[in-house]
């Protein structure tokens, strides 16, 4: 039996983690330029989705010293929120904005309906079934039939109503038998 002594060399030599945020971009001094920079920052838990596509950036405004970014947290207790605030400050500072304030705004509460079309496609390609629209009448909130992100089958069952992060539930596809994450509508 051959046992590889260097799994890292065999399996992961090509693997480089995707950059968490864009490097080397400079701010052009405009509000639009800040939005462009924010589009380069990815969610810490789901790196294929940017903060813009996640729909959590509510406002960008000039202040006498720099800019203020207003964002809405996804889940009240989600630890990613703190990382996101730190990332925003770091990226904007790196791009040359002298003074960055990050404000959290609770109203209106974030909803998965704000995830952009591009964000939904990115989630799907990443193996996470995107959320369905939030129903006006919330009945049977945990009962969903998301399409499998791998084979598009609707023969799916919920394995766990709560998942690896607050925003997800764990499902299994009965057609291709693969488990997958489902982004819960909120």
């Amino acid at each position: 039996m051959v046992v590889s002594t260097d799994l890292r060399g065999d399996r992961f030599s090509d693997f480089e983690p995707p950059p968490r945020h864009g490097r080397g971009l400079r701010w052009d001094g405009s509000i639009g330029g800040v939005w462009t920079l924010l589009a380069e920052i990815s969610d810490p838990e789901i790196p294929v989705v940017s903060l813009l596509d996640l729909g959590i950036i509510r406002d960008v405004a000039h202040t006498p010293e720099g800019v203020t970014v207003t964002l809405t947290p996804t889940y009240a207790g989600c630890p990613a929120t703190e990382v996101i605030c730190a990332d925003v400050k770091a990226v904007l500072a790196e791009a040359g904005i002298a003074h960055v304030t990050v404000r959290q705004q609770l109203t209106p509460a974030w909803t998965t309906d704000w995830i952009s079309a591009k964000g939904r496609v990115a989630l799907q390609d990443y193996g996470i079934a995107p959320p369905c629209a939030v129903a006006a009448e919330r009945t049977q909130t945990l009962q969903f039939k998301p399409a499998c992100p791998r084979c598009a089958s609707h023969q799916t069952v919920c394995l766990s109503a709560f998942g690896a992060t607050p925003c997800k539930a764990l499902y299994r596809c009965e057609t291709c038998r693969e488990p997958f994450d489902f982004f819960k509508p909120l």
Binding site: G77, P108, T111, R138, P166, L186
Partner: protein
């Protein structure tokens, strides 16, 4: 000096205790649920309790931060969570009761999240706009908690003879502590008068309607009303809270200001 600040920042003397009742209720229940982490009867349930606890912790953090800002004496969320002693905590006794077996944890958690499910919509018209915003945000998450716990209430209540027996035993033990949630006192009366929050009668109506339907489907019987009233919201707790706080606060108090 503090009196002036309280008058300007807080809407009346009941404002701070009311915010702390809500925040402490969420924090202490989160602590209890987290005791299940790594011990859940099945992996999915382990994850579910941990996730619900995280949402409750998020509620507590928002409420503490807001309470500290309104109070204007420089207290942040950590000051409230780690540096108050037992008598200063104003959570209802219900949430500090020991977890017991899984049935007892399900019944207790269901009782409280069902209460929150009626509370959050009523708070969305609060005269405290930040409290209304926290309530609107929390309500979406609580909807998931309620549905999940309802599922367990019914599955175990209307399950095997053993699961039914344990659920009924848990209900008999836990249910008398729910009366405190709907007991009028100077705080709840002032809160309702100031438009900060709903009356206890409104909350009782919401909660009773929702829980009665679930208990009926679960083939469980609420114990008859008793004169017993727990008093956690007055700062008079059961013996159990001290142990919860000891575990939660020990590290911070042993190493004040420590960071990592």
């Amino acid at each position: 000096m503090s009196g002036d600040l309280v008058d300007t920042g807080l809407l009346g003397p009941a404002h701070l205790p009311y915010l702390l009742r809500l925040a402490d209720g969420s924090l202490i229940l989160a602590q209890r649920l987290l005791e299940w982490c790594g011990h859940g009867p099945v992996l999915e349930q382990d994850i579910a309790f941990a996730n619900i606890a995280l949402d409750l912790l998020g509620q507590a953090r928002l409420l503490y931060t807001h309470a500290g800002a309104r109070e204007g004496r420089g207290r942040d969320e950590d000051a409230f969570a780690y540096w108050r002693d037992e008598q200063a905590f104003l959570n209802p006794t219900l949430v500090e009761l020991p977890n017991g077996d899984f049935a007892q944890s399900v019944v207790r958690t269901y009782a409280y999240v069902a209460y929150q499910h009626g509370l959050w919509p009523a708070l969305q018209t609060s005269t405290d706009p930040a409290l209304a915003a926290i309530a609107a945000k929390s309500h979406k998450e609580t909807s998931y908690h309620v549905e999940h716990l309802e599922g367990w209430m019914i599955r175990l209540g209307d399950g095997t003879a053993e699961s039914h027996t344990r659920m009924q035993r848990a209900l008999d033990l836990v249910w008398p502590y729910t009366t405190e949630l709907f007991t009028e006192d100077t705080v709840t009366l002032a809160v309702a008068a100031d438009g900060l929050g709903p009356t206890t009668a409104h909350l009782a109506e919401q909660w009773t309607g929702a829980t009665q339907a679930v208990l009926a489907t679960a083939t469980l019987q609420a114990p008859p009303p008793s004169p017993f009233r727990s008093t956690g919201q007055q700062g008079r707790h059961s013996d159990h809270l001290g142990y919860v706080l000891l575990e939660m606060q020990a590290l911070t108090r042993a190493h004040p200001g420590a960071r990592w």
